[in-house]
């Protein structure tokens, strides 16, 4: 194979990483005011996970996924119509402190020098390590939805287990697709509604979210899907592949058979790039995740590096769009361009859209046992490291995730801690009785995703340019 020519420019005013709602909106806004803009995304088509394959969806899928999904089509169309250079199938694997980006496209690596960067890499699912969660037939709930969005495929014999709005959304979509889940097993602890009630005024300001949530739950109930509440002690059963789920619900031991078990505990920011760039992060005790420290416009603690969308903290797709525009406008202003919208109006819309969040965060905070699995449970799926091994490493003197990684290789496999990171940090913090901020997180190093040696050998990096 001969090295291909660079598919994009060598330099740009603004590089955006990720083509979900935040990235698409930022790209269209930046290009509109005349910034030389490049948007890199791993997917084949724009949309991210929330609007995955929205450009080529079918009438049947639209009917199931609803207008909140199809609304993403306008963002994708605006990106396509803009002058932004859109690079699909492009995986960013390193960014230097001077914002020189290394990315891989179809097996060849290229470079892009950016004056400013918006990290719009969204969220990943919070890990939910239970006995048997590595068995074939166990996926995230998000995975089921992606199968549906991109291929119209629905599992006919699936249990949905865990907590959070997405659990009910996917359950209701399966009902609408004619294959209701075998059961919904909810781990939301009792009395959570009471805990969330003090936030009801905010929730009423975001009443369309409340109404939608209630309608999802009603649709699942109407379809007579068995719902098991207050579930604890979940365990996937099956000799090799999953054959069902065992759990305790309201004091009673239950076993439900199914060919597929989908797990969910909400979503958390994907921290890889903001961590790689050394942005400051803090532990958000309401969202139960680390978030990058940002200004109102998404500027991180690192000069010229912004974050927009769920990567800055979980706010959902509408806020992601607004944040993308705010960040792009801030960058445009700093480069002497006049922004197309009033930033204070965007910020006001953002405040309004976020009004539901404190209510949802209180209602769906992960149950305490979710992040502290039993000793025998595998936590790091890549390297098959158990919670017990991590606790032993802490007892031997490992004070944080990076030392545990050196001891055990947890977080050193191909996923680089994307799946297990938060649980590893939580286990360490609990074992040492210290805060999450003091415990910290894995140091993220390049390459952000595995590369072949052949690709690295062929890679011809340019000299770093002084910005």
């Amino acid at each position: 194979m001969t090295p291909k020519t660079n598919p994009g420019p060598h330099s740009c005013d603004l590089a955006i990483i990720g083509a979900g709602p935040a990235g698409m909106a930022a790209a269209a806004t930046a290009a509109q005011v005349g910034l030389k803009t490049v948007i890199l995304d791993e997917g084949d088509r724009p949309g991210g996970q929330i609007y995955r394959d929205v450009e080529q969806t079918t009438a049947q899928r639209k009917q199931v996924l609803g207008s909140d999904y199809t609304a993403g089509g306008a963002l994708a169309a605006a990106l396509r119509a803009s002058d932004a250079v859109y690079l699909p199938r492009s995986t960013v694997w390193n960014i230097s402190s001077k914002r020189l980006i290394d990315y891989s496209l179809d097996g060849t690596s290229f470079q892009l020098q950016a004056s400013a960067i918006i990290v719009a890499t969204g969220a990943v699912e919070r890990p939910f390590p239970i006995p048997g969660w590595t068995k074939p037939g166990v996926t995230t709930v998000g995975a089921l939805q992606i199968l549906f969005k991109s291929s119209g495929i629905v599992e006919e014999d699936a249990i949905l287990a865990g907590s959070g709005p997405l659990l009910w959304l996917v359950a209701s979509q399966m009902v609408a697709a004619g294959s209701p889940p075998v059961a919904v097993v909810e781990t939301t602890p009792p009395r959570r509604l009471q805990a969330a009630l003090p936030h009801i005024l905010g929730a009423l300001r975001g009443h369309h979210y409340l109404r939608k949530g209630l309608s999802l739950i009603r649709a699942v109930r109407r379809a007579k899907v068995p719902v098991f509440k207050d579930a604890t002690n979940l365990e996937v059963i099956g000799d090799q592949d999953a054959t069902g789920l065992q759990f305790i619900s309201k004091g009673q031991r239950r076993t439900v058979s199914a060919r597929h078990v989908a797990l969910h505990q909400g979503v958390v920011p994907n921290p890889q790039i903001t961590r790689l760039l050394g942005c400051d992060h803090y532990w958000d005790s309401k969202q139960h995740c680390f978030r990058p420290v940002t200004s109102a416009c998404g500027l991180t603690s690192v000069e010229h590096v912004y974050v927009a969308g769920d990567g800055a903290g979980i706010m959902g797709a509408i806020s992601a769009d607004l944040q993308g525009r705010l960040a792009a406008q801030d960058i445009a202003t700093s480069m002497g361009k006049s922004p197309p919208e009033r930033s204070d109006r965007l910020a006001a819309k953002l405040t309004k859209d976020a009004a539901i969040r404190p209510f949802l965060e209180a209602l769906y905070a992960p149950a305490p046992d979710v992040m502290s699995p039993a000793d025998a449970v595998t936590v790091c799926r890549c390297e098959d490291i158990t919670a017990g091994a991590i606790r032993d490493a802490v007892d031997l003197g490992a004070p944080g995730p990076n030392q545990v990684k050196s001891y055990l290789r947890s977080g050193m496999g191909p996923c680089q801690g994307r799946v297990c990171g938060l649980v590893v940090a939580t286990i360490i913090a609990q074992r040492r009785s210290v805060s999450m901020d003091e415990t910290g997180y894995f140091r993220i190093r390049p390459p952000l995703k595995p590369l072949t040696l052949q690709e690295l050998a062929r890679f011809q990096p340019t000299q770093e340019l002084d910005p």
């Binding site: 791993e42 995975a143 199968l147 119209g152 994907n270 890549c382």
Partner: protein
């Protein structure tokens, strides 16, 4: 099993573990294997325990398969091409 809710206008054929299968054009390898009922895609390099798709968004690297002789290909991020030869990725009990 998994089913499709909409019609398939164009199909491609591929093989998994020597078995010839068909799927809709445009499907990822992971989707094609899910809809044809294949869940065990590899064995863990450490414990040799079976693994399958997990996140479907390129994050977890659990769906690694061998495609046309190339190992460690993410099934969820690879589109099935006509005639693709896909194999389960197994390293045996020793973990190598």
């Amino acid at each position: 099993m998994a089913k499709r809710i909409d019609g398939v206008s164009e199909t491609v054929s591929f093989s998994f573990e020597g078995q010839t299968l068909e799927t809709a054009k445009g499907d990822s390898v992971a989707a094609a294997l899910a809809v044809t009922g294949h869940r065990h895609l590899r064995n863990s390099v450490v414990s040799a325990e079976p693994r399958g798709i997990y996140c479907m968004m390129g994050t977890c690297f659990d769906c690694l398969v061998e495609v046309n002789g190339v190992p460690n290909v993410q099934a969820c991020r690879t589109t099935v091409q006509d005639g693709m030869v896909i194999c389960r990725q197994s390293y045996g009990e020793s973990g190598q």
